[in-house]
Amino acid sequence: MRSIYGFGRYFRFLLRRERAMSAVWIVCVAGSALLFAGMYPGLFPDKESMLTMATTMNTPAMVALMGPVYGLESMTTAVIMAQECLIWFVMAVAIMNIFFVNRHTRVDEELGRHEMLRALPVGRLTGAVTTLFGAFALNAVISIITALGFMMLHIEGVTAAGAFSYSLSMGVQGFLFAALTLLAAQLFSTSRGVTGSVFALLGLFYTMRMSGDMAGNALSIISPLGLGLRVYAFYEDNFVPILILLLEAVVTGTAALLICAGRDLGEGILPARKGREHASRFLRGELGLAWRLSRGTIFAWGLGLFALGASYGSVLGQIDAFVNDNEMIQKILNTVGSYDITNNYIVLILAIGAILSSVPVMLLAGRIHAEEKHGRLEQLFAKAVPRMKMFLAYITLALLESFLSLFLLTLGLFTAAWSTGAVELGPLLKAGFAYLPALWVMLSLSVLLVGAFPRLTALVWVVFSYSFLMMYFGRLFDLPEWVHKLSPFGNVPQLPVQEFRLEPLIVMAALSLILGAIGVVRYGRRDIG
């Protein structure tokens, strides 16, 4: 047992380090699993509405998104809830485990913290074993809380077996991802390499499940995410998939520990990729640097917004039937006008998507301030780099991002809804791009804050949160007009339901130009750092 000497003390230390982070994860995951479940009886008050929803879900697009439909002949609220929720909570728990294991293994090693611990009387494998054990405990706690919570909620169709098959499917897949991350931490020598590879694996598993479920073949069961859904929670309550997944996790974890025992501290089994020894021609200027530092944000958000548009778009064909039976959703959708429901739905998707599209725009515009806080700007400005030119490089990227993100959002929506025949690309793009001036207001607000009030940059997120709340909940209550207009997004004509009006857009564009100009000029005059 020399190799795990000091396990007890190491585990107490791990708990000490984790007491805030893991507690937050437990509350968020278990809490939102129960919160969502609690909403279902209200969303589907009778058998008829459940069957309508089940029919909607039994279409290729929805099966691709959430997995196979089951239990149609004896539909209960719990079954509907499990079908719609389980896959998302599995993904959330997987992400939690990836971060958990990475920060206790490769991150510690990379930052030189692990070597201080290893210099103490602890075994060679103590760190890895403790981390795996910690992950097991974390998943167990989440599973048990979720299962007990389900049993206390009064939801039709909830049984003890169902509650545990649901939550253990979630927990065991989380543990499998902990083991996979531990394995990746032995293979890659950088923490980026570890998270990158396991996230790619998560994406691969999801895609395998998706194509397997759509084609009805075994590919889905080979993927842990597909196998995990085969517990058929609250219907068959099959625990065999859970045992298989546990076995997979144990095998993966053992393999990781074997490699760990034989490798040098700080090294990975796979050699680190050698970087360029020289900067490319493009990197050698302000715009090149800004692009290099922002491209990850641009790619990731582009992909995310396209997927968001596509996932909303995929239900467009069935939306009429679904909404007609649901009063609360009707209310969210219908306050805009008396048009048909599909168009009201498009309006809502675009509004939410546009607000989310402002996030990468604001991140890019504010990036120069992040650079300042990291102390990297003084070196640049000590060279022949005009401050305004550097700032304008980021602003240019943010401006391009405003077009790109709205375009990809709309394109995603169109691509997924195209087969239904309910949408045309031209009008949809017009409706999406109508939000451009609102994004510019958010952009110029960030520029103004960074340039003139660098301590108040967080204010832009207040405006963002306000806009988001107004868009979602503002519709449920009858609020006065000006409350909506306080958000830039509340001033955009909501095509195709409302008439197109140019004036508010021009006013917003002009306002952004003024705010942005003030921000840029003030930036040239203030202290840096």
Binding site: R192, G285, G375, A384, V385, D527
Partner: protein, 241 residues
């Protein structure tokens, strides 16, 4: 003509006075050592010289021109190494060096000298900056600075993370620069380095220059004391030893 000249420089941060009338200058071919305890105002002075901070009052001139107004043009003649080198974790050292050199916009870099410096400092330029130790990050900034064809080198504790061999490489290169008639402003805590390299010295304490002059004048003032003892007594000010 002076390379840089700081006259009655005052810098306030809100109510706090960081610099309270600093006077300092250096001529071409001069290595000017800038000494003082932590928090005394060395870095703030350097940042005002580089137009990263705006002076509250007083004048700062570089090559006879206003350092704030003509910052961009003047910076083409300056190379800088900050005291705390922060680099972009996802860029390699080689990329950062090229980026810094091209951002100086001072024409072609002497490739031979650059490669020689990389070899002398034993830097692996293909590694990402996140994997570099403090000493290696400092090397990246130092190589980019020393490879450039600048008139003024502003070096803020450039060798605090270097080993004695690298320290030697650094000192040799400073010697070359001096011979070529370039100016070096060297902030340092390493007394042997100052003694070996500096022509003139300014000592700052609590935002004021408390002693200055050529090395021979300092030696005179120090009387029988070693240089280190003299500096220590100046650092401590009225508290005395």
């Amino acid at each position: 003509m002076t390379t840089f000249e700081i006259t009655n420089l005052v810098k306030n941060f809100g109510k706090f006075t960081a610099l309270d009338g600093v006077n300092m200058s250096a001529k071409p071919g001069e290595v000017h050592a800038f000494l003082g305890p932590n928090g005394s105002g060395k870095t703030t002075t350097i940042r005002c010289l580089l137009a990263i901070l705006k002076a509250t009052s007083g004048t700062v001139t570089l090559f006879g021109q206003d350092a704030w107004k003509n910052a961009v043009e003047l910076h083409k003649k300056i190379a800088f190494v900050p005291g705390d080198v922060n680099l972009w974790p996802n860029l390699t050292g080689g990329e950062v060096i090229d980026l810094f050199l091209s951002m100086r916009r001072a024409g072609q870099t002497d490739k031979v000298r650059l490669e020689r410096l990389k070899e002398q400092f034993e830097l692996d330029p293909g590694k990402k900056c996140r994997t570099y130790s403090k000493g290696n990050r400092q090397k990246v900034a130092l190589i980019a600075a020393l490879a450039s064809d600048a008139e003024l080198f502003v070096l803020d504790e450039p060798t605090s993370g270097l080993d004695p061999l690298m320290e030697k490489v650094f000192q040799d290169r400073i010697g070359e620069l001096k011979k070529e008639g370039r100016t070096v402003l060297l902030s340092s805590h390493i007394m042997s380095e100052v003694e070996k390299l500096a022509d003139t010295v300014s000592i700052i304490r609590e935002g004021k220059i408390v002693a200055g002059g050529s090395m021979s004048q300092i030696a005179e003032k120090a009387g029988g004391k070693t240089l280190e003892e003299f500096f220590l007594s100046e650092y401590e000010g009225g508290r005395g030893i």
